[in-house]
Symmetry: C2
Subunit: 433 residues, 2 copies
């Protein structure tokens, strides 16, 4: 995780201050857990209205962050991610309104049945309680996460990047006022006090107060949260995604899917990082594929068998090492290898994948069946781009992140993934014999 | 966690040995994940047959553990838990046969739909991969856990108590032979090498090799696993369960439910540890309840308002401190307090509960509704004993433990809780625009 080297915009927070915030979140969570859908939706819409109404205040706070970032020599790309304009604030508010329209997951009966002895069992969706989100850079996450947690009946503790601290302070203050005006507890949305990594550590070890911690950001941030947390964590988002071009692939579909998976947006976790090509289709597939990739500025990091195809196509080529098979490039680089069989492709994928998304292009039912069974990832695409692994694309309406772990949630996480369940058992004086 | 002070029955294992075991489990998991239900059921039944056939070998190994336990001055109660007889082995084998008869959770389509763009999305249940189980004393857990993990397509790493090491070695060897004879990988069921706590630490930090770790046992064991693990963990079983006798309770049902919750079996996590009595019903309820509890040898640890009722009933009484409200007694002790309202009862429960099971006895629909909404526990009983929170009682057929955390699984965990899901997305050359 990167930290500002400039003077922190606010003083550091000790453990007591972080735990006090968490305790107030826990109290707020009790009220939020039983708030009606109508009350929660009204509060989320009120938050959206307030963000638009308070645009000048938010832009002014954002200017402080931008000035600090410029003084620190932050890159223009990062400064762009940090920038809040009236248009962007309007978009953020619009996203909140969409969240209000989503169905409420709380109260859903997941299973229900009556036992032979007459006991009635219902497994009912309930909020998690207090959810902590640790994230980097973009201040829109502050609002998205608050909206999704609130809608699912949870209190949220937000820990954004110190580079966005003033923006986040303003966004949270505006949302808290709207919450209070709607009759819900303002402590339902809080910023974790302090800007140091110590504050994150206190959050990660607040057992009994934090029910779930979700890190969103780069691999280093996620690793540090997973390793240091003693509260439950969901890992998100690291994506070393593979596209396998099977011997029975349709060439046109294969080229289109590979180009889209790699180049449609390179800075995202569901972009492809490696292509594996069945040797039996290499001569037919690679000339067209490499020409299309070259046109979009891609560099190939290939094995020895890939080199002659790259040289023939005139696409930039470097010899791949193990680093390339493991790398999430986030750039117009693509690792590439020939494989002699679907099983070889699966062996490569199982060895190097981060468990996010793998795609196969094939017209063979048997090949697709074996590929699906042999992958161990959150999503498997058959004749579709890896870029579809996304809560919005899946029709969830919103997404809090993409889980790459197997516990609780795997793949894009929407509102139901922010809930737990409880068993409600109703009897007529039943006792065990 | 308690460790033998006698010479360990096997040498200690270094990190490399534990990781090597985990790696072999990971390889076995690939084959198990795609094994058919027929193959898995046949293997589980073969394990049951082999355990019965190899009874003399298992009893002989168990005798080594028993001799060591006696030499260490182990209590007769613990020695009884450790003892394997031909009858007990037959029961353990019978439980395996029941597991074989349960439906296979793997392959179940949890959700499925087609998007407006024609992409077909299916969320399919898949095995977790490698599951580690860390448990104490009773060697039957070795077989139960192996059967449940195998049936759900997972490889299992078993880490039992060092006091049962020889018994576990024999049980696992017999099961491995049966697995191999059935054509499934013998590494699907393995004992973690070594008997020291270090071996557990290596297991808890085997990131990328262990997909889920489940501690089963006392509070200390569970806490140490939760705090030291960097692999995903499910907390199980600590139960400080409450029974609340509402103002609108039926007295006879209330007495029966309280007595059953507290005394039917005291050494289990779903036994009640605290009763909260609405002041408005105390005069009608407590004389009958305390008489029934006294008859069963219960001692009351009560607040000041409870004392006169206890003295009138002649039941042993001690003044309760905060230790009593927090305690999981595992004995014929019961903490007891009068409360002036349902809200006061909920405040007490939210402060002291371990989140396992709470019960309300009431004939008021409104009271039961408020109680259900106000608890934050894995199970809430309305007019039923806390003792019903159990996989067997819930009709799951088998149980790997009772989760008291909110992530992934909450309450009794059966076969589906030992699985994850993956999204299978099928297109016709779909790319993102």
């Amino acid at each position: 995780m990167s930290h500002d080297t400039s003077a922190a915009p606010a003083g550091d927070a000790d453990r007591a201050a972080v735990l006090d915030t968490a305790r107030r979140a826990k109290d707020a969570a009790v009220a939020l857990a039983t708030a009606s859908r109508a009350a929660k939706d009204a509060a989320v819409v009120a938050m959206a209205d307030a963000l638009v109404a308070e645009t000048p205040r938010i832009v002014a706070a954002n200017a402080l962050d931008l000035a600090r970032a410029r003084a620190n020599g932050t890159s223009e790309a990062l400064i762009d991610r940090l920038t809040l304009t009236p248009d962007r604030i309007a978009d953020i508010a619009e996203a909140l309104r969409s969240v209000a329209e989503l169905p409420d997951p709380v109260g859903e009966v997941v299973r229900g049945y009556t036992l032979p002895n007459g006991l009635e069992i219902r497994q009912v969706r309930v909020p998690m309680g207090v959810i902590g989100i640790v994230y980097e850079a973009r201040p829109n996450v502050t609002v998205d996460a608050a909206g999704l947690c609130l809608k699912s009946g949870n209190a949220v503790l937000l820990r954004g990047s110190s580079s966005a601290y003033d923006s986040n302070l303003a966004l949270v203050a505006v949302m808290q006022d709207a919450l209070a005006a709607s009759g819900l507890p303002r402590d339902g949305v809080q910023l974790v006090p302090g800007t140091s990594h110590e504050a994150v550590k206190h959050l990660m070890t607040a057992r009994g107060l934090v029910d779930l911690l979700i890190p969103r950001g780069g691999a280093d941030l996620i690793r540090s949260v997973v390793e240091e947390s003693t509260v439950p964590v969901i890992e998100t988002g690291v994506g070393n995604c593979h596209v396998y071009i099977d011997a029975a692939a349709d060439i046109d579909k294969a080229v289109a899917i590979l180009v889209n998976s790699k180049t449609q947006r390179v800075s995202v976790c569901n972009a492809a990082e490696t292509v594996l090509v069945h040797a039996g289709i290499a001569d037919a597939f690679l000339p067209a594929a490499l020409a299309a990739l070259q046109e979009r500025g891609v560099t190939i990091h290939g094995d020895a068998r890939m080199r002659p195809y790259a040289e023939a196509a005139g696409i930039p080529f470097a010899a791949a090492t193990d680093v390339d098979w493991a790398e999430e490039y986030y750039s117009l680089d693509l690792a590439a290898a020939l494989v002699d069989s679907l099983d070889d492709a699966l062996r490569h994928i199982r060895r190097w994948s981060s468990g996010h998304t793998e795609a196969i292009v094939t017209d063979s039912v048997e090949a697709s069946r074996r590929f699906i069974a042999g992958c161990d990832s959150a999503a498997v695409m058959v004749n579709a781009s890896t870029r579809f692994t996304d809560g919005g694309e899946f029709g969830f309406g919103a997404e809090i992140g993409i889980s790459t772990q197997k516990l609780h949630a795997r793949g894009p996480m929407g509102l139901p993934e922010l809930t737990s369940t409880t068993y409600v058992v109703t009897g007529a004086g039943h006792i065990r014999g």
